[in-house]
């Protein structure tokens, strides 16, 4: 199942961005008229700077997120995390530290877990992304989601989607042989509530195939 849906940032943001840019353009136009010769004024009137900036700023990005193909235009400075949350409304992936230190933004890129906050969206062009929203099959939760609920693997829940994405990847990576190993290879996901013992239990249960 795959549909193509062109996406832009949410309307509110687009408008505020437009307003800011209009202000900049108007002020730079006034400055240009006041200080510079005719060619520059003409350039400003034709919005050449705006058109040029547009060419440099946004580039095409193709992603398949949770089985759905998307084609977007994004600025190079936009991260994968921001595309997921702000462009695609997939807000299950959380922005925690935004510096690769907490793991709340963990998603799978071509099946490999990464910190989406440190990944510029454009570097992921053509790749398959799985987020927390893509784990369940219709109404049926992923075994790891079931296990987190059963073992109380969270309190406030903010780190949980990252914890679960990491845990699912961990089992595939084959580093869940002992509690020590699970803790070491889950160390990129910080939980301020301290639900670690229950997170380890949940992972061990899914590894044992008991759910």
């Amino acid at each position: 199942m795959s549909t193509t849906k062109p996406c832009t940032p949410t309307d509110g943001e687009d408008n505020s961005n437009g307003t800011r840019r209009d202000f900049l353009k108007q002020t730079s136009l006034l400055t240009a008229i006041a200080l510079t010769p005719g060619t520059v004024v003409k350039a400003a009137e034709n919005q050449w700077d705006e058109k040029l900036a547009g060419v440099f700023e946004k580039q095409a990005l193709h992603l398949e997120v949770n089985g759905v193909k998307h084609e977007l235009m994004v600025e190079p400075r936009v991260t994968l995390l921001e595309v997921l949350r702000e462009y695609l409304d997939l807000t299950g992936t959380k922005k925690g530290c935004d510096r690769g230190q907490c793991g709340a933004c963990t998603v799978h890129v071509n099946g490999v877990r990464v910190n989406s906050c440190l990944s510029l969206a454009l570097t992921n062009d053509g790749k398959k992304i799985t987020t927390i929203e893509g784990l369940a099959k219709e109404e049926e939760l992923h075994p790891m989601q079931e296990a987190f609920i059963k073992h109380d693997g969270f309190q406030c829940g903010y780190c949980t989607s990252g914890q679960i994405m990491s845990a699912v990847a961990l089992l595939k990576e084959g580093h869940s042989g002992s509690e020590t190993e699970i803790r070491e290879f889950m160390s990129g996901n910080i939980c301020r509530c301290g639900a670690y013992p229950n997170i380890v239990k949940a992972i061990q249960e899914v590894k044992g195939g008991m759910v």
């Binding site: 440099f56 690769g100 877990r113 440190l118 454009l122």
Partner: protein, 330 residues
């Protein structure tokens, strides 16, 4: 984050030419360090050249040892069966660094280029000669418990944060690079610099040069049995080293026939312990010899106000890593 231009070349030569034309351009690989620094405003590039699609990912055995493409991820190297068997020190060191997610993203070339985690470097309100040459060193008289014991200058006392680099130093790696003037090879010991009067320069790469591979010699694969990477840090996992030791010994009939030792967290570059290695050669495997080697390794160490504890921690870590590598401790 400030706006910048972005290109994604498919050929190495194109990437190198593209950067040569851009005075404020940077290569982007895994991004785990660069994107973070861009968010903090430490690096404000006009252009990023995304090198992730270049054909530099191969990890393979060669006639002279092991070839590791600069764009191989840290995880791919640490999980590589032949590396785990023949160069286990490298796999152990890599897995001691960062988190699984970061190791999946970060590349070997990027790890070599990793910048210091000195808090004064990261805080743009503070002086830092590495970030802003001439502004001074905040750490010199500041909170310097994470800082250097060896090879520092009055301009900079920061340390190289990488674990991988420590193992590469012990394993005699060669860094292959290419630039507009063509390719060249740099020995790991000559790749990273001491701060001296130019702490802004972490390494000896010329402007526009790109790391293409890291090669390990066959000789280093003899050091695959008695190996340990000991990392001492403020928490059990996922923290930078206060001190780390990469130890690999070749032993015959309880006699050390060769030693490879390097320390992390103590200098501006991975700190190879050559004099201690020389001392250990021909000696019996016992704790007294390890203690003597550690004493030799610490000659010339200089501590600052808050890192004096490292003067004890570092030699103890050397002894402990040698004991763990040889089975005298577990």
């Amino acid at each position: 984050m400030n706006q910048f231009q972005y290109t994604r070349p498919a050929e190495t030569a194109v990437a190198v030419k593209s950067l040569a034309k851009e005075p404020n351009g940077y290569f982007l690989a895994g991004g785990t360090n660069l994107v973070d620094m861009m968010k903090m405003g430490l690096v404000v590039p006009d252009k990023l050249i995304d090198i992730n699609r270049l054909p530099l990912k191969k990890i393979e055995k060669t006639a002279t040892g092991m070839h590791i493409g600069a764009l191989a991820s840290n995880s791919e190297v640490a999980e590589h069966a032949y590396i785990k068997a023949q160069y286990p020190l490298l796999a152990l060191a890599i897995n001691a660094g960062a988190s699984p997610q970061l190791r999946n993203m970060a590349t070997v070339g990027g790890n070599l280029m990793q910048r210091t985690r000195c808090p004064y470097f990261f805080d743009t309100a503070m002086p830092c000669n590495k970030r802003t040459p001439g502004s001074g060193c905040g750490a010199l008289e500041g909170i310097n418990r994470m800082h250097a014991l060896f090879g520092a200058s009055d301009k900079c006392i920061a340390v190289n944060p990488s674990d991988m680099n420590v193992a590469l130093a012990a394993l005699d790696a060669t860094i292959h690079v290419t630039g507009v003037k063509g390719p060249r090879a740099i020995k790991i010991g000559d790749f990273h610099r001491l701060p001296g009067d130019h702490p802004e320069l972490d390494n000896t790469l010329q402007k526009g040069e790109l790391i293409t591979s890291v090669d390990l010699p066959t000789a280093s694969s003899a050091y695959n049995k008695h190996v340990y990477y000991l990392k001492i840090r403020d928490r059990t996992s996922y923290a930078f080293a206060l001190v780390s030791v990469a130890a690999a010994l070749h032993i015959e009939n309880n006699t050390i026939t060769g030693a490879r030792l390097a320390m992390g967290g103590v200098a501006h570059k991975p700190w190879r312990l050559s004099t201690a290695e020389t001392f250990l050669k021909g000696k019996a495997v016992n704790e007294d010899n390890f203690k003597h080697a550690a004493q030799i390794a610490m000659q010339g160490a200089k501590a600052y106000e808050y890192n004096k504890f490292k003067l004890k921690l570092a030699p103890n870590a050397i002894v402990q890593s040698l004991k763990l590598a040889t089975g005298l401790a577990s």
